[in-house]
């Protein structure tokens, strides 16, 4: 900086802070704004969750009463169970689907670019669109069931959307459709980054393709797998729009998820304090996923720095 000023003798040197103004503006303004939004509103939500606020925020202290009320409500319990089921099923299945697609694409097939775009394309669609389209496809009177009936197989039943026990799986299906392409892209990059010489060495060692994948390539993918799982889990925990468009929590409250509970408490029942408590609970679930991941990343980087 000072050198740059020194080699331009014609101009008087500007004060340091003026020359660095663009840097300050680009770094500090967005940082302060996002910090103000994220941190202050998070703190504010946490505070509200300890107050008896209903339609409007009020001061006062009710301790953990909002939390106990939310945790005891059937709505939240179903939402939490659903989140566990949906989170696990969605993360495992979308990672598995993505991995299988990536392995298939990795066989140096023709039209790889086209297929890759097709698999990635759902990611470009908004969740509301995905939810709406799948709500039509899964609607027994409109979608797949109707199609199969019209083809002549009239005893065919595919009515998970209106089945209390199975409805949550429709959300799993739609979410997998939306995001397995993303997992595929990450896995494909991982598969392609395996040193070609290692594959050659394994071929000379006499390993067939299955053994090469199982013993050599897949074990090298686990850092990517963790990244995929964490990103997908974050998405699963904060899922709102997809469910809202696909089932709206129904039938009844069978497909309720925490984000819907928060929305319901805050904006439909005007129970700000309880809604805030539910939101803080969601934040804690998210932290339970993200903190171990951050710790793992930190350890990885430290080990890499030592190696």
């Amino acid at each position: 900086m000072s050198n740059a000023a020194a080699i331009r003798p014609g101009r008087p040197a500007l004060p340091e802070w003026v020359r660095r103004l663009p840097e300050y503006l680009t770094i500090w303004v967005p940082l302060l704004l996002s910090a103000a939004h994220l941190v202050s509103f998070s703190l504010w939500t946490i505070w509200i969750s300890f107050t008896p606020s209903t339609l409007i925020p009020v001061t006062g202290w009710v301790g953990l009463r909002n939390y106990t009320a939310v945790a005891a409500s059937r709505n939240w319990q179903i939402a939490f169970d659903n989140l566990l089921l949906f989170g696990c099923a969605f993360v495992v299945l979308s990672a598995a689907t993505g991995l299988i697609l990536a392995i298939l694409l990795d066989q140096r097939i023709r039209g790889e670019n086209v297929l890759r775009s097709i698999f990635l394309y759902p990611l470009a669609v908004s969740f509301v669109v995905t939810g709406t389209v799948w709500s039509w496809l899964l609607n027994p009177g409109l979608g797949i069931q109707k199609l199969v009936h019209d083809l002549g197989w009239t005893s065919f039943r595919f009515d998970w959307l209106i089945d209390r026990d199975m409805a949550i799986w429709t959300i799993v299906i739609a979410a997998i459709w939306q995001s397995s392409g993303f997992a595929m892209a990450l896995f494909l990059a991982g598969l392609r980054s395996v040193d070609a010489d290692i594959i050659k060495a394994a071929q000379i060692d006499g390993a067939g393709p299955v053994r090469i994948y199982r013993r050599i390539i897949l074990p090298s993918l686990w850092p990517i797998t963790i990244t995929v799982v964490v990103i997908q889990l974050q998405f699963a925990i904060s899922t709102f729009d997809l469910v809202r468009a696909l089932t709206n929590g129904g039938p009844g409250i069978a497909t309720q998820l925490p984000a819907l509970v928060v929305y319901d408490l805050m904006f439909q029942r005007s129970l700000l304090g309880r809604g805030a408590a539910a939101a803080v609970l969601m934040l804690l679930i998210l932290l339970a996923v993200l903190l171990p991941y951050a710790a793992w990343r930190y350890l990885q980087r430290r080990r890499a720095a030592h190696a």
Binding site: K200, A201, Q203, I204, I216, P219
Partner: protein, 369 residues
Amino acid sequence: MAALSIRALSKRYANLEVLKDIALDIESGEFTVLVGPSGCGKSTLLNIVAGLDRPSAGTIEIGGRVVNDVAPKDRDIAMVFQSYALYPSMTVRQNITFGMECRHVPKTAQDAAVANVAKLLQIEPLLGRKPSQLSGGQRQRVAMGRALVRDPLLFLFDEPLSNLDAKLRVEMRMEIKRLHQRIGATIVYVTHDQIEAMTMATRIAVMHQGRVQQFADPDTVYRYPANLFVARFMGSPPMNTMPARLESDKDGLVAVIGAGRPDEVRLRLRDYDGAAPFVGRDVVVGIRPECIAEGSRAFSGEAPVLVEAPVDMVEPTGAETMVSLRLGGEPAMARISPDIRPAPGASASFALDTRRICLFDPETERLIA
């Protein structure tokens, strides 16, 4: 018995011919080095021998068996890669046993083989580690262990030392040579480093532009390079090559560098009868730098040819002094005693050993005599 026979082999990628009519016969127990500049096709040739790539034409025989259509694993070969290509998720022991695991070798035999190889390469303390916990030299050893444990007909080395630092490279070079002497394996070794080729090989195949330029033992390649490419590739610094005119007088043949100039250099040639047809024509004279020394040097007792030549630059290396000078106006390098430092810009006296001069045909670039 020929361990490896390559006949009329060529390789084409679309319009690009990377290997042209390669023919090599490698005897059992030989250490053959394929050497050449990058892009000369040496690694492609090795990959074809390994079965990782297919030739466009020609045959490959390993141990007397045509293996063109045999899978790499069934060719009875082992390969060491430049990047070592260790399996990152496996321990050193698993890396070494992986091949045997694939061939369903019993566990007890596997353990015995690992113990054997680990002892030979002194990697016993490393067996439980992962490749990421090893240094470059250790990885190199493990990669060799993985090859050795197979006890194949043919070892293939693809630039195995180029990722090591200079000191370690020299150590491993000696170790590989010692290993070859001890186990008597047949080795085909690819490198771009002509010093590796000279020091390790029993025979060198010098490759350039997809062809084998010369296939001979190191001394022959060095002393009688088959053509100008080999002369200029082998040796560090390489052979000096200078245009000259071949004349003859009552005492025999004379090569004249810078003919007609006041500082022309006349080199009397004895026992160069093969060059007789070139009398009166242009030739290229090749002189190794070590055949040009300070004026007081006597080469094997014989009276050398003494030349006064202008000095361009002096590079002391400690063990010797490299001097760039001009012979009859042509640039040349000389290797003189370390304690002699001629002044750049001035003239100095040099002794030339004319018995080891090579003559090349300037048109075909081939060795005449």
